[in-house]
Amino acid sequence: MKLWAWLLVPALAAVAGTLPVPLGLDAYMPVPEANPLTREKVALGRRLFFDKRLSSDGTVSCGTCHEPERAFADARPVAVGIGGQIGTRRVPRLVNRGYGRAFFWDGRAASLEQQVVQPLANPKEMGDSAAAAARRVGVAEDALRDALASYVRTILSGDSRFDRFMAGDAAALNDAERLGMRLFTGKAGCSTCHLGPNFTDEKFHNTGAGRGTDPGRAAVTGRAEDRGAFKTPSLREAARTPPYMHDGSLATLEEVIDFYDKGGKANPQLDPEIRPLHLTAEEKAALAAFLRALDGKVREAWAN
């Protein structure tokens, strides 16, 4: 037995009690063996997610930035944390992150368990340590971590008109949306990165988006060629949650499509898949219409 075989195959276990998964998502969701999904943990995680005591000054909860009615993002270009401190990156939507393989815009966390404790300790977000936060809400640090990660796993978006179309309802998309879908996987080449049920390859690409000051993935890998590369975000619920990109620098879907149509922004690390698309006005409108058909229903916990 070669060692690599063990290292590369993560231990996986059941989505215990079969968490209902909306139309369009895989029934199988990978869950670490060490943190099986249980109703109790999810319920605790849900309570903690909205508990402001997790922040050092009691003003901010996870839900302050990740608002449930905005697919767990907010409406700002960049995050605002305790004491009104302004961060440098946009709050991402948290839907379908249970299927994710890299977390944060630069992928610096490899699992939700690693991820959820970082905002607690970020001086610009919740401003303390995971240990101190756990003490304030009266649970063990491990339990806090496992519960938050479990809850985030249950935040799912599916059952969009696109999903109904894929399930066989040919009338679920109109002509413009179908043209947009064709462009998305065809001429516009969006699906070379935004692919699969979750519209992401979970990898890092430089599109040239943003102000160019954020090193992106390079801060994690230390490699120059990763400068300005960010994780491909899911596009589910994106249409209704502007602004866009890692620093919120594009205000509307139309701006995003224009940005891609021009071939992104030239820079030495630009991904070779980003190139001028020569889309007509009708095609741009169709692409936007298709992206709007990815808005579905967001559900969390076992609640609804």
Binding site: A14, Y28, T185, S191
Partner: protein, 551 residues
Amino acid sequence: MLAAAAAWGAGSNGPHAWWSGPQVTLLGSPSRDGRRLSFADPATGALGVRNLASGSWQAVAERPAGSREFAYFSVFSPDSRKIAYAWFNSQGFYDLRVTAAEAGAQPAVLYRNEEAGFVQPCAWTPDGKFVLTLLFRRDNISQIALVPAGGGAPRVLRSLNWVYPKKMDVSPDGRWIVYDNFAAEGKPERTIFLLSTDGSEERRLVDMPGNYLFPLWAPDGKGVFFAGDNGGPEEFWCVRVEQGRAQGPPRRVSGALGRFLPLGITDAGILFYGVRTGSPDVYLAPLDNLTSGVQPISTRFPGRNGAPAWSPDGRRLAYLSRRGTENFGQDARVIVVLDLSSGQEQEVPAAMAHLERLAWSPDGASLLVSGSDGKGRGGLFLVHMPDGATRLAAAEHDAPFRGYEAAWAADGKRFYYLHGGEELRSHRLADGAETTLLRAQVMEHLAISPAGDLLAVGIGGNAIRLTPLISGNTARLLPFPGLTELAWGRELYAGRGAELWAVPLDGTAPRRLGMPPDRQPGISIRSDGRTIALTAGREQSEVRSIELPRP
């Protein structure tokens, strides 16, 4: 008459040959009682059912007259009464359909969606309620799905990026799906996984070095059989399974079965499988004296080669060679360059998913390759020699996966190609600028004169148009019914199936050359005009069976 009667014996029955000949396709499965085999009839496109003992067959789903529809993968239901199958429909993609396994039945469409336009039904759940199907989506994702046999939305269990299992099967207790997938990202080796049918669990079942694929459940549910290839001949393996977990290490249950493809296991433990018997290869022959003989090239992998292309200096021959285990449909091919003076072979690692045809650049520094990449783009790619660095030359989404036919201009600064069969284009390498030289209905096959002043283009399958590349000259049309191929050396050569003809440019009668009767498309003329490289030998398959031991 049903399976219950059949008992699983001791596994002592050796290989038995059931079916050979040109009608054999390996896209179907045996019925559980081992009496019948579903298949796709290549001549009529029909879904056929063959009675294995008598050798008679009947069509159970036929295409309407005049249509180009056809049947593809198929699998019998557990009670052997129905067949789920893929059907290439009139809109140009595949439906998942189901029909009663008898002539005259009315088929029903279970799933039809252009966005998941290729489907492969692999197995039924034991209760007959779902068809375990692979859906191939346009975004290059393949999905393991349970499609309700009575209609309704597919239940997608698992989406896989860029890869697809070669085979999947459902356990007799209905709880587990077994499938093959890459053992690790970026590695070519596959191994065997279990996925619970409710989607709640996934596990790796086989954990040993090597390449393992084509898993099938033992009919008693106590183990999984699968094929393995460790660089040597392909073998059949078995691992005992209890409660979804491997019991002990896998063991080999058969010696080399040849290049084989498992089709299914009957209730009596008989494995039906297909083997390739024909062996196409690349041959060389002197054009001045064809009677003196056609000689195969010497290669490390005989019997799986084609699409030869001479280098401009006539010292090297590039060709495509099939690699890896037997596969349905699309084969994994590699580019091999044979140095004829030293006899050395070199594999060129092009970053492409499917390779169809090769053409050397006039400076011998790269190959223009038609085919497609792993991102769903078809067309023409430039592959640098010898490192295989690959870049898009004229490739796009929605283009055919076999790519385009192309010919280099003599100066190597541009190439000409047939785009979509209706447009002859010129492509300048420096900046990618393209111009349209000719538009016509159904253009196929392209060759350029050695001097680079004339293009020969096949028109409508029955004529060759000589298109001058120097202004002032006029085009000419040479009739040639049944045209299947063009090449240009000292003369213009045209293929008609296995036949090869020299076609005089002055319109006088073509002259037939002596060629092997099983010649396949794929010729190249050496730059001195004297030696032809050609492909001959037919891919043929045979259906055999062997009794398996119990797990």
